[in-house]
Homo-oligomer: 455 residues x 2
Amino acid sequence: MNGILAELERIFYPRGVVVVGASNREENFGRLFLDGFIQLGFEKLYVVHPTEKEVLGIKAYPHMMEISDEVDLAVVVSPLETVPQVVAECTEKGVKGVVIFTAGFGEKGSEGRKLEQEVVGIARQGDTRIIGPNCMGIYCPSSKLSNFPFVPKESGPVGMISHSGSLCNIVTMAAAAQGIRFSKVVSCGNECDLNAVDFLEYLGQDPETKIIIAYLEAIKGGRRFCQLAREISKEKPLIVWKGGTTERGARAAASHTGALGGSYQIWRAAFAQTGIISAHSTEEMLDYLQAFYYLSLPEGRRVAIISGPGGPAVATSDACIESGMELAELSEHTKRRIAELIPPVGTSIDNPIDLGMGSAFNPRWYVESIRALGEDKEVDILLVIGGSWLSNFVEMVLEAVKEVDKPAAFATIPAVMRGMEQSLPTSGLAIYPDGRRAAMALGKLVEYQRFRSSA
Amino acid sequence: MNGILAELERIFYPRGVVVVGASNREENFGRLFLDGFIQLGFEKLYVVHPTEKEVLGIKAYPHMMEISDEVDLAVVVSPLETVPQVVAECTEKGVKGVVIFTAGFGEKGSEGRKLEQEVVGIARQGDTRIIGPNCMGIYCPSSKLSNFPFVPKESGPVGMISHSGSLCNIVTMAAAAQGIRFSKVVSCGNECDLNAVDFLEYLGQDPETKIIIAYLEAIKGGRRFCQLAREISKEKPLIVWKGGTTERGARAAASHTGALGGSYQIWRAAFAQTGIISAHSTEEMLDYLQAFYYLSLPEGRRVAIISGPGGPAVATSDACIESGMELAELSEHTKRRIAELIPPVGTSIDNPIDLGMGSAFNPRWYVESIRALGEDKEVDILLVIGGSWLSNFVEMVLEAVKEVDKPAAFATIPAVMRGMEQSLPTSGLAIYPDGRRAAMALGKLVEYQRFRSSA
């Protein structure tokens, strides 16, 4: 492990954590951080505050140096003007990483950038590294670090890097609702010292992390980023949502984290060469993540579509082709198997398979067709579209989808979603509310698999 | 009203309806149709069936001619081989419109196409017109016509034409969950006689219909379609989702409704010239419909974005610009009003307005900012992004959104959606689960407004 990776390891797995500026006021963000650490069960917790004696049951010290135990991570929420002094105390105490939540630095202009330089200068006098300022810090369930209350306690294989602190929480919580769990989530903020590329390098070699997602506005060290991304993508899917792709969006990014973005055309070219999977919204990022999380990589790009409703079958065929797949030519054996199940009219045994309206009453038609396609050597990927008011429909169909030994996604029908929602599982399957979104996500698996096999 | 419009009027407002082939078997689709009519309260209902005496309390006749009352609409679910004879009886009886649900016609090849011609030939001997075959027929709440059980009884301003019967139900039900109501929904099927262009002409002049949506695979009479679309778009937004845009998708469409699609490039050009709003999935169609249903048209394309989370503010700015809007330059007065509300750091009073993390605890910051932007003459459109665990947050923010005298959409944050869902209203507002989707929908309002003002 090289210098920076060793430094980050100590920050991700600290012996003690101090929250500087946590108070008993309800809207105090230090208190929220503290609450998060307590909920995850981090034990060696301390508070530094000029007047408080205790916050949420944690003893508060007026000064850092009065804490006798080792403290490797500090989270600083104290006012802007106090930050240089706090960082000086952290450096003196030997703190390895200081998360500066406090805002009002580089994103506010040249005065703030000077203050950032001052703070880094102070930290450089010791072994202290800065995360932020203007950030939410680190969520790492395996070491019980929290960036907010309500995050899941369980660890998982997803690493996340973000230039938006809010998106760390939004994405973590929304993904958690789909059963997805995280290894490390890092909000980088203004990156006056440690930056997204440093964290990318760390997550690239982190054995706990198998998939990396990132919301990035601007990159410090584009060349190193591309080299790393290309290397890491060979092993781990890297999904990047780039904010500030337009000139005006980039201007907004500058007042968000004080960084300048560079042309999106350059980014796009970089994405293509490095195997990065590109997303354009929270929704797309979560859709793609779900596919990489729950599905294996396909052996080829031949998709089979099974649908009850005919219109979605047609339109999802378009979406699959636009997403880089091709429609599988089914084997005669498969067609015969399916033909034996369903009526000869109002249906189609050619791909996309249209099971007809009767399928809403006959989940067995789905189950048997899914099995047949699962066994067909001409099919690499399965996309199942359906829905029903029948109470056992979802359970039966999803059980069959789960047993398929190929990437297989399920798209629900919005009309019956409300009734189905209770029976939809919250984890274990890639489930989408629309055939087109399922197609786009499966297309990303194909795109990534092609990168891997050519890299 | 010209010939075809008068014919359609009699079909949409029939004096009596007969369901041919409805039986007491639970999976019989005629029974489902009948159930739908009963639920909507259509009274002059009849059943024709060779053996049944009564279905769902409705008297069944062995032959059409035994019904003494006037019957203007027939829904036929009887087996393929009986259809010519049924149509002959309908023609003899003077039925104006025959919906043929039965499948196995043109979509199955040349034999089926011959059968379609035979059926049309029989109908031509009288005043009878055919809808379908292979279709779900008509939903028209103002005349109590139903195409399926569970559809809302209340009428509304949306007309729908679809080459997919399932999508009629899927879209109707999903839109209904958002408080959207329909005037007429028509599933056209194989269009052996009446086709989508005929129905488009009817909906164009129908006073009940203010917005038209369509799922179309192939068009019979492309030139007439374009002329009508262009004329109608000047008055009523026309949202079209085209299925079969790829060669393979078009092949699937051919086995779905037996029609051939034509190149998507031609379609795209036609869309641009006719003011058609183009959608690519159920989700997009519903997203755009929501905007046209609940919002007024903007006076210009200058959008103001208000967000709590910073990342979504930046990324949604990109999405707005990509969707054809520009970011409004806010007046100094507005900026001052907002600056007085929020902390000076961790926020931005430049568009996109970043209210900072504290806004989750301070819905009043949203409310006051929304008011300020609502009154700013530099702003044509508002996009509000936010969410909170606070129970009164949604209510307060949405109340303010509703009072704005400009098109204003709200985008929730997925992470907190689950908790917020109960408090989200099901109607009256354009609400999206993602900033990008809100931006795309608002962009369609701008696109349409530009067409209208240039047409």
